[in-house]
């Protein structure tokens, strides 16, 4: 088992004929991912990378029975592509596109409220179940199958965590990049809840960063769990770097709870093992998995 995707999941690629989409879709196919179709409006009837191209996700699903989609569409097309994917009844939607306007993501979140679609991203490396399926742009060669679930708010630190797991001689059940943007489709709890129910996953690595109160929410959720698996947490970023990037009024909304120390303290108090440097991860994993 794994979460979200496995080798049997039928996957489509929205925006498949683009250069980056083609590069990564081909890599995913070579990895064994069950990509069954692509979508590019106006290019229906074409065959690309050996799979049929449709005008809409709705048509693609009707013809192939796909349940997951990875989006490489231009930023300004994310809202319409999402609408299409939701209408198609997609279960998992992974949006790789970066520089999506925040307002558009707020519309997307509104649309998702009445749907069964789990939206991951945008601006994410994607989702990978090692040895089975790759949705996105992960450097697949650093991954290996195993029992550690990874969920991260930072793309690059996701790779770092995966390398640390490899260093510990372990592998991953599924790796999920939540996306680096201000407003994203899913948060820690949405994903960790699935890891907690997944037989294959024995422990979880959660990577946080500054902004919002996601880590605090995770701490609250974890405290309330009856049956828990180990979580190791890491939070990147210091206060001044945050102030540097983020404006004045935004600070107010979080009521001053913005330092990485606040987030680390919240995680620790909830019983989540927190580490100060990401390269301490492999040692801690070895201890836990002994």
């Amino acid at each position: 088992m794994s979460i979200l995707i496995n080798k049997n999941t039928k996957i489509i690629v929205q925006g498949i004929t683009g250069t980056q989409a083609s590069f990564h879709a081909r890599r995913s196919m070579e990895y064994g991912t069950n990509i069954v179709a692509g979508v590019t409006p106006g290019k229906s009837g074409l065959s690309h990378l050996g799979v049929p191209v449709f005008n809409t996700a709705v048509e693609a699903v009707k013809e192939t029975g796909a349940t997951a989609s990875v989006m490489f569409v231009p930023a300004k097309a994310v809202v319409s592509a999402t609408k299409d994917a939701i209408a198609a009844g997609m279960e998992t939607l992974v949006c790789i596109t970066d520089k999506v306007p925040i307002k558009d993501m707020m519309y997307v979140r509104e649309m998702l409220k009445d749907s069964k679609t789990r939206f991951i991203g945008p601006n994410t490396p994607g989702v990978i179940t090692p040895g089975e399926a790759r949705m996105g742009i992960f450097p697949e060669n650093i991954h290996q199958p195993g029992n550690i679930g990874v969920v991260s708010r930072s793309s690059t630190l996701t790779y770092e965590a995966v390398l640390e797991i490899k260093r510990a001689g372990l592998g991953q059940s599924t790796v999920v990049g939540l996306g680096d943007d201000m407003v994203v489709g899913s948060d820690f709890i949405d994903i960790i809840d699935q890891f907690m129910k997944d037989d294959e996953t024995k422990a979880v690595v959660a990577i946080g960063t500054l902004g919002g109160r996601y880590e605090e929410k995770l701490a609250e959720y974890y405290s309330g769990l009856k049956e828990k698996k180990h979580i190791i947490g890491f939070v990147a970023g210091n206060n001044s770097a945050y102030r540097y990037n983020v404006g004045y009024a935004g600070d107010i909304i979080t009521r001053g709870h913005i330092t990485m120390q606040d987030k680390r303290d919240a995680l620790s108090e909830a019983g989540i093992l927190t580490i100060n440097r990401i390269n301490y991860l492999h040692e801690e994993l070895k201890n836990i998995m002994k």
Partner: protein
């Protein structure tokens, strides 16, 4: 992207928000003339136009600018020219600018409005909800809103607004009561909040701050100050706002990096970082600080696909005089490692490599990238792990001392 007060006021007034009469001046003489156009009699307000809040509590680095802050009340037309002369060309430091401050290139001359009451009003995106959220606070309580937020968060009322429709009547009434505004100002308050919300949504703002809003005896609301920031990712559909970008507000290297499509920032340290993600740059800066070093600057080349732009970006770091050592840490996914390797070789052959350089590659095309570097025989070190790469660089930097 940020804009100036006078630009924000122009935008807000299009949405029915009242602002004092005013105009921008670039010279003391102009300031004096404008004051006469606005009203025959003082007082007037004269306000430094830099991208920063808390300008009234700021100070100037130059002696010629006097001891007063960046926002001054002036009684006579003659003293308008004098105050403008003091401010123009001087460097204003506020809690938001950092200790280096920002040079004032223009001032805003405005009528003085007599008001009865003031309050703070802001609008931001709360990423947790997610929703555009209205913030109000009785600013008579304390001028520094950040301090209020830290010490007495209950003094700030937060109201999540509907994306399409904005504030409900009940929400406006709640704000009115919270601020103890006179009952006759309800209609004006509704109009004010609706105007802010529409300006926010229409223009893809990420923040609007009116600090303070002035309330007149008759219950009229007026934006006495205004600050707006916009979502850079949405500027493709707002050409008019993109044009308001004031290049003098940016350091030159940042401007260049933006042109190449990359993010760039400066700190007080000596290490130049080239990375492909915010998370990794935050983690590296944390690590440097744990070892008593700090970053001089970082370049985030995330999403880079153009070889020439990547090389130009790397050159920005290699030619930064404050950089005493460079750490390149790339975890290739979308961005392929070989593009960075080619960029390193291209820029080093053009500007020379005069400081220690440590490179770490992981992910897509890592081996190919390493091969390019080895073949170039540049004096650089390749490391395989994050903390090792930091240690390697710091060691080389210490040896160089």
């Amino acid at each position: 992207m940020n804009i100036h007060e006078y630009q924000a006021k122009q935008i807000l007034s299009k949405y029915g928000i009242k602002v004092p009469k005013g105009k921008v001046a670039y010279t003391p003489l102009e300031a004096k003339t404008i004051a006469g156009e606005i009203s025959l009699k003082g007082p007037w307000m004269i306000k430094s136009q830099i991208h920063s809040g808390a300008r009234n509590k700021g100070y100037f680095l130059e002696k010629k600018a006097g001891k007063d802050g960046g926002i001054r009340q002036v009684k006579t037309r003659r003293s308008i020219a004098k105050e403008a002369d003091e401010m123009l060309g001087s460097t204003l430091v506020t809690v938001q600018t950092g200790h280096k401050g920002k040079v004032v290139h223009k001032v805003y001359v405005e009528e003085y409005v007599k008001i009865d009451q003031t309050f703070y009003c802001g609008m931001v995106i709360d990423r947790m909800t997610p929703a555009i959220t209205l913030l109000v606070c009785d600013s008579n309580f304390d001028d520094d809103i950040i301090r209020v937020a830290l010490s007495s968060p209950d003094k700030i009322l937060r109201t999540a607004l509907n994306l399409e429709n904005g504030a409900t009547v009940a929400q406006v009434r709640n704000v009115l009561n919270f601020l103890n505004l006179p009952a006759n100002s309800f209609k004006n308050l509704k109009k004010f909040i609706d105007g802010l919300h529409k300006a926010f949504v229409d223009n893809d703002a990420t923040m609007i701050e009116v600090n303070p809003v002035g309330v007149t005896k008759r219950g009229e609301l007026m934006a006495l100050d205004a600050k707006m920031s916009f979502d850079d990712s949405a500027m493709f559909r707002h050409k008019d706002i993109s044009m308001l970008r004031d290049e003098s507000e940016y350091i030159e290297r940042k401007l260049k990096a933006l042109k190449y499509g990359f993010n760039y920032g400066e700190f007080d340290g000596s290490v130049g970082l080239i990375v492909n993600g915010d998370g990794i740059s935050l983690a590296l800066i944390d690590l440097l600080r744990q070892k008593d070093f700090d970053a001089a600057c970082f370049l985030n080349v995330k999403g880079g696909v153009d070889k020439d732009k990547i090389a130009a970006g790397i050159k920005l770091i290699m030619t930064n005089p404050r950089v005493e050592g460079i750490l390149i840490n790339i975890l290739g996914g979308f961005l392929r490692c070989n593009l960075i390797a080619e960029g390193i070789v291209a820029s080093a052959s053009e500007v020379g490599l005069n400081v220690p350089l440590v490179v770490r590659f992981e992910g897509i095309n890592k081996e190919y990238a390493k091969e390019i570097l080895v073949k170039s025989s540049l004096p650089l070190k390749i490391s395989d792990e994050m903390e090792t790469s930091v240690n390697d660089l710091l060691e080389l930097m210490r040896e160089g001392d």
